[in-house]
């Protein structure tokens, strides 16, 4: 069983704030998910390799050529807060340097 505190820890890792109802709901969902996948974890896969890429293997190497990139103002156009060509975020350091 996945506990309530474990759900809260997951939310913390995922940077989500959950209401009491959401904690209860996702606790239930997580437990059902773990239950439904129980058979999956019983399959003997000792000698089975892990799949990450399903395409046909090919060489990724190519010549390293300089190509055009987007201008800075275009890259920054969606920034919620942009100052002097930078994305501005709340202060990270405690004191003035």
């Amino acid at each position: 069983m996945i506990s309530r505190s474990e759900v809260i820890r997951m939310a913390e890792l995922a940077r989500l704030e959950l209401s009491e109802e959401e904690i209860a709901l996702y606790q239930q969902d997580l437990n059902r998910f773990v239950q439904s996948g129980a058979e999956l974890r019983k399959i003997d896969t000792d000698n089975v390799s892990r799949t990450a890429y399903v395409g046909r293997a090919f060489s990724l190497l190519r010549s390293d050529e300089v190509a055009e990139s987007l201008p800075q103002d275009v890259v920054l156009q969606n920034g919620p807060k942009v100052v002097d060509g930078c994305f501005r975020v709340p202060r990270v350091m405690e004191d003035e340097i």
Partner: protein, 477 residues
């Protein structure tokens, strides 16, 4: 589509007239169906005028120059919003366009607008759009499927001649089946993912949705091809449309996995797909029983991988570089408040599940085990294609369900029971309509082929489609 191209070539119709026809249709029916999140009337008309001008000069960019298209809203376009049907990206305008959009433009095709979807492509009904639900044109009380529900509904309702969708576990094929349109999930690596907002990068593919198999093949040929900005793009990805297909299927072998006809399959869907298989046999195909024993694990494997990859991919929405930001005195609180406000309930659910399977204590038992079972699932298909050319299955266990009917997320996930296998193994798979049930709802049949053998899918699909049309017109089986 060939007929439309002919009319454009011989000046029987202009691109402006064509685009206007679809815009009129959208205006007439989309207040009920709500397939579109954004209709770009001015942009589409301007592109149509440019197309007519090219034709007047005798310089069309392609045979399809001037034929418009609708685009799912998780594919980046410049000048129109790309929202992924999420509050998080409600005001997002991409600074660059997807490779598939560049290819669509190079073919001269005006873009009608962006279509609705489940938020960040997470869902099977388009009910999880943060903005509004889309309705099935065959029955407005039912879902169009998802997550490419807007694209499927737009094509089915005649609001667009064809559209682009995306498919991570069935998101082109399931709505295709529910709306009675054709949709292809291409081989992984055949269509560039550059400019597609990622859900699960090892599973996602962009693909065509159209009214006929032949049209889907044309659209596929426009978007397929190598792109070195997508490191999984296959060097020989280009596809050429077959000029003609045979009038029979002699020499082609078709595998039928009996596991797909077991419990959980609606009897009417089973009956209709079996009739189509009989038709394939009558057309000369050799029908063989095959086995895909690990498919029963495909949904759990898929869920583990899709949630893990999604939770990682969606970490980028933190309010710093784009999208929603909720101000707070410190960064961590800003991240939390932004993500809590910007994501809908299904997105949060999947991020929570994905975070769980990736944590150090569960990583091996869940995520790594799913990657190993993925190998077994892929090996089943590989084995099948050593003895058959295509595999035929139902696309979905049932026809379109009612809006609000599936409240249980685990039940909703079962919609992808027959489709996720092709994403897990990377194979191309197509849905095409093969009948209707007693409620008048479309039934979809799925054709799966070996990697990069879309040609076999289109051959069988086109021959079967022709045959089904003759039966519909009153011919004999």
């Amino acid at each position: 589509m060939k007929e439309l191209a002919h009319k454009l070539r011989t000046s029987q119709v202009s691109s402006v007239e064509l685009v206007q026809h679809y815009l009129d249709r959208i205006r007439a029916v989309d207040s009920d169906i709500r397939a579109f999140l954004y209709v770009d009337e001015d942009g589409a008309i301007a592109e149509a005028k440019a197309s007519d001008e090219r034709r007047r000069r005798g310089e069309p960019l392609s045979p399809w120059d001037g034929i418009p298209i609708a685009i799912k809203d998780n594919i980046c376009t410049v000048g129109t919003p790309t929202t992924c049907a999420s509050r998080m990206l409600e005001n997002y305008y991409s600074p660059f366009e997807a490779e598939v959009i560049t290819r669509i433009k190079q073919a001269g095709m005006p873009i009608l607008g962006k279509t609705n979807m489940d938020e960040f492509a997470m869902g099977s009904s388009t009910e999880f759009s943060a903005f509004y639900i889309t309705r099935n044109p065959h029955d407005l009380t039912r879902v169009p499927g998802g997550s490419s529900g807007g694209s499927a509904a737009a094509v089915a309702a005649g609001e667009a001649p064809w559209a682009l969708g995306t498919d991570t576990g069935g998101s082109i094929r399931q709505p295709g089946a529910f709306c009675g349109v054709v949709g292809l999930k291409p081989t992984y690596g055949r269509v560039s993912r550059w400019g597609l907002v990622a859900l699960a990068s090892s599973l996602d593919q962009i693909g065509p949705m159209a009214r006929t198999v032949a049209d889907a093949e044309i659209l596929f040929s426009i978007i397929a091809g190598h792109d070195n900005r997508d490191s999984t793009s296959w060097p020989n990805a280009a596809y050429r449309v077959m000029d003609a297909v045979p009038d029979n299927l002699k020499g082609i072998s078709v595998g039928v996995p009996e596991e797909f006809f077991a419990e959980g399959l609606d009897p009417e869907v089973a009956c209709s797909v079996r009739q189509a298989i009989k038709m394939l046999e009558n057309l000369g195909a050799e029908v063989k029983p095959i086995s895909l024993p690990h498919n029963i694990y495909s949904i759990d494997t898929y869920l583990t991988l899709v949630t893990a990859e999604a939770s990682s991919n969606l970490a980028r929405y933190d309010g710093v570089r784009y999208g929603l930001r909720v101000e707070a005195p410190d960064c961590t609180t800003m991240f939390k408040k932004t993500r809590t406000k910007g994501f809908g309930p299904e997105v949060k659910r999947r991020i929570m599940l994905g975070t769980y399977v990736l944590t150090a204590s569960h990583h091996e038992a869940f995520y790594e085990q799913a990657r190993r079972v993925r190998t077994l699932i892929a090996q089943d298909l590989e084995q099948a294609f050593s003895s058959v050319d295509v595999v035929v299955t139902p696309t979905t266990p049932t026809t379109a369900f009612r809006i609000g009917e599936k409240q249980d997320p685990l039940q909703m996930y079962l919609s992808d029971s027959y489709t996720a296998i092709a994403n897990l193994a990377g194979n191309p798979a197509l849905t095409m309509p093969c009948g209707i049930d007693r409620k008048g709802l479309p039934i979809g049949l799925q054709l799966i082929a070996d990697h990069f053998r879309e040609d076999l899918i289109f051959t069988v699909g086109r021959v079967l489609e022709q045959s089904l049309r003759e039966v519909e017109a009153g011919g004999e089986l």
